[in-house]
Assembly symmetry: C2
């Protein structure tokens, strides 16, 4: 932090400190703003996104035609691109968040003590959240809205490749805040693409930032985890597994594997490795292989798996540790649930795993012994998503163990305080 | 971390890494150990503490007669000293923790989705916890037991001044683990007083430590917050306030203030500042002042407060920001609940505050607008304690906002995972 301060332009340091102080002040106001006022701001922001669609698309075109866009992969360009449908979906997303229950003020737990004290645990905002993301401009709307819903002030720092798109979306959020009488500092976007600004944000801006939520690829997460001097709610890779137990229904298993791998290959909940009981290779593997090959998926298997179908290529050791985010699946034969668990514990990233089985003992063992954020039985790993969990929206899937785990929605961006009601009690 | 590695003796670095790996292995076993086995270990450890009382007291005498003990304050010597009663209380504390419900495996929440998925949020351990504490040797038993109860492996690092006492207590915990068939690496104590070992622990031992819990004074907490490269559950100072509103019952307010200040002055939940409505100075202050002076408390007031009683000394600006941990109370007159809230928001540490009032509007405002971890109405701030909250025991009172807040008991040392039960669902 001191090193980065020394090398930072004084103008940026002062600007970032102003942003931090503005966020801190907004946070103390926001903690007391009514649900109605927050929802009014969100609905008005959604209206503004729809009304300013042309401006947003023009800004997006500016990003897409910038020199640096030429260096982006096809997948990144797809993430960056907006169209009528994506802008409309963004507005609907903000409206959905407005429709969620307000987590703030909820009584999470309450109990009485023998001495008559009544104790309530009540949800409060975290304070100021710094969100660092990459090419998807819609994160601006999602993250800004979720933070506002949960009573937090937010400092947004999007990727430089989506700077103009994010700025145009941010202007709509600001309009929403204004129309509801909430200070604009509640949702700030860092108005520069300088990397120094990220370093300063990670330093915590002298106590003005309570938590950092990074959303992006491995390089971003690695930088955040190394440099952050405030708590981080991390989102690491999703090396997700599907395990097909010998007791699985053949057709159901094939449907689940196909969906887990191919519905969308670029999301963190996409399956990357299939484990299958050796005793099920002859019965269960053919339907799975046919479905995947028909869908255009490349398959890489160990010796026993390759022996079943010549269209399967041999897997290398690194295949068990690779998050392809692409139409490739590694397949390995195992001798029962214990071996499947051992493989996942060794190679997995603790994100999401699914077991296809009708044997309840195997399912219970899988659920009990594995320690991933999400474990599923007879369902696709692609359900690893805040919306699918009923949270309305998410900032990402937390793979750390501190504070929150799994999909991070509005409720996960909160803390709590204790309210204790007495009648004159003193402690003996 | 790299700096501390470079200057660290190679022997210590290797030893610490072994401790980390041992803890990581123990953690993955512990997550699956039954409640009965954990409780058996705790009850056996308590038995061992009682049986080895003489050894523990001899080790304590060794600490108390060491040269460095001569540099300790009276309060620190008191914290360090053990006697028959304190050893018995330590054993009872461990037995109480054995008697608590096991948090691990508890279903925290469950719900159904429209597509038929049934989602459960189930409590799991955090993993490996590093606990850094100072002179109180009983923290060895409390922290070790709470971590075991919550299925976490723990690496204990006590103060060098209590090294022999903590080692003797740790031997009893190890005996308990052994008799229940749990690996000794579940509760490890760093077998050196070298400060390098602390630096290495704070580095996270290459991913072997999930969270650090510091328990001690400001210097310790500051070092931990600067150097830690893993999440920290922090325990900052308790600059606790009692606010006496004009509507308070006079006698009740005096009882609460006396208890909040004087029951024990050295704990973080002790009151340090009294705020009192200016309109209540004549009616409420005399009983409070008499009770406190009779109990031997020094009083320091602002001009209006001093004007009420010549035995009250004038307060300086620094009195509003001082955690005395001693028989001294700062007193300030305020004009109603809004001024009281503003004073606490500016000078408080966000730990614990109490309002004495019968006016429910004032209480609601105090509870709503203040954002301390614990807010009490008509009750002493000294109830800020895990045992008093019904948690059985605590490692401390967390003043941060991430992961947990307020008393940290077994439940607060946990994370969760999601178990999703399907019937073949794929995501559209």
């Amino acid at each position: 932090m001191s090193a980065s301060s020394q090398s930072t332009e004084p103008g940026i340091a002062a600007m970032m400190q102003d942003i931090g102080l503005g966020a801190r002040n907004a946070a103390s106001l926001l903690a007391r703003v009514s649900s109605e006022q927050k929802n009014e701001a969100l609905l008005s922001a959604a209206k503004s996104i729809r009304a300013r669609k042309d401006e947003i698309l023009a800004a997006n075109l500016q990003d897409l035609s910038a020199p640096k866009a030429k260096q982006l992969s096809a997948a990144m360009l797809d993430r960056l691109s907006l169209d009528d449908g994506r802008v409309a979906a963004m507005a609907s997303g903000v409206e959905e968040i407005a429709g969620l229950a307000d987590p703030i003020g909820q009584i999470i737990a309450e109990w009485d003590r023998p001495n008559g004290l009544h104790i309530q645990r009540v949800r409060v905002p975290l304070g100021v959240i710094g969100i660092i993301y990459e090419s998807r401009p819609n994160v601006t709307a999602d993250a800004g809205s979720l933070c506002l819903k949960s009573g937090n002030a937010v400092i947004l720092r999007g990727g430089s490749e989506s700077y103009y798109s994010s700025s145009a979306i941010h202007a709509c959020l600001e309009e929403g805040l204004k129309s509801a009488g909430i200070p604009g500092d509640a949702i700030q976007m860092i108005p520069t693409t300088s990397r120094d600004a990220v370093g300063l944000l990670l330093s915590g801006l002298n106590g003005c930032v309570d938590v950092i939520v990074p959303r992006g690829g491995k390089n971003l997460i690695a930088r955040v985890q190394t440099d952050a001097r405030v708590p981080v709610i991390g989102h690491l890779e999703g090396l997700c597994h599907v395990y097909v137990h010998a007791s699985a229904d053949v057709q159901q298993a094939a449907d689940i594997v196909l969906n887990a791998k191919m519905r969308r290959t670029g999301i963190c909940g996409a399956a990357e490795t299939l484990l299958i009981d050796r005793s099920a290779l002859a019965t269960h593997l053919p339907s799975i292989v046919n479905a995947l090959l028909d869908a255009g998926c490349e398959l890489r298997g160990d010796d026993d798996v390759c022996g079943q179908d010549e269209r399967i290529k041999p897997a290398q050791t690194e295949d068990w540790t690779t998050e392809y985010l692409d139409a490739i699946l590694a397949i390995k034969a195992v001798d029962g649930v214990d071996q499947a668990i051992a493989h996942i514990a060794r190679y997995g990233s603790g994100h999401t795993e699914s077991i296809c089985a009708s044997d309840t003992t195997a399912v219970e063992k899988f659920f009990h012994d594995l320690d991933s954020a999400i474990l599923l039985h007879n369902a696709s790993t692609q359900f690893a998503d805040g919306g699918e969990f009923g949270m309305g929206a998410e900032i990402g899937i937390a793979t750390g163990r501190i504070h929150t785990r799994g999909p991070v929605g509005a409720e996960q961006l909160t803390s709590y305080k204790y309210l204790v009601h007495g009648t004159g009690q003193t402690r003996p």
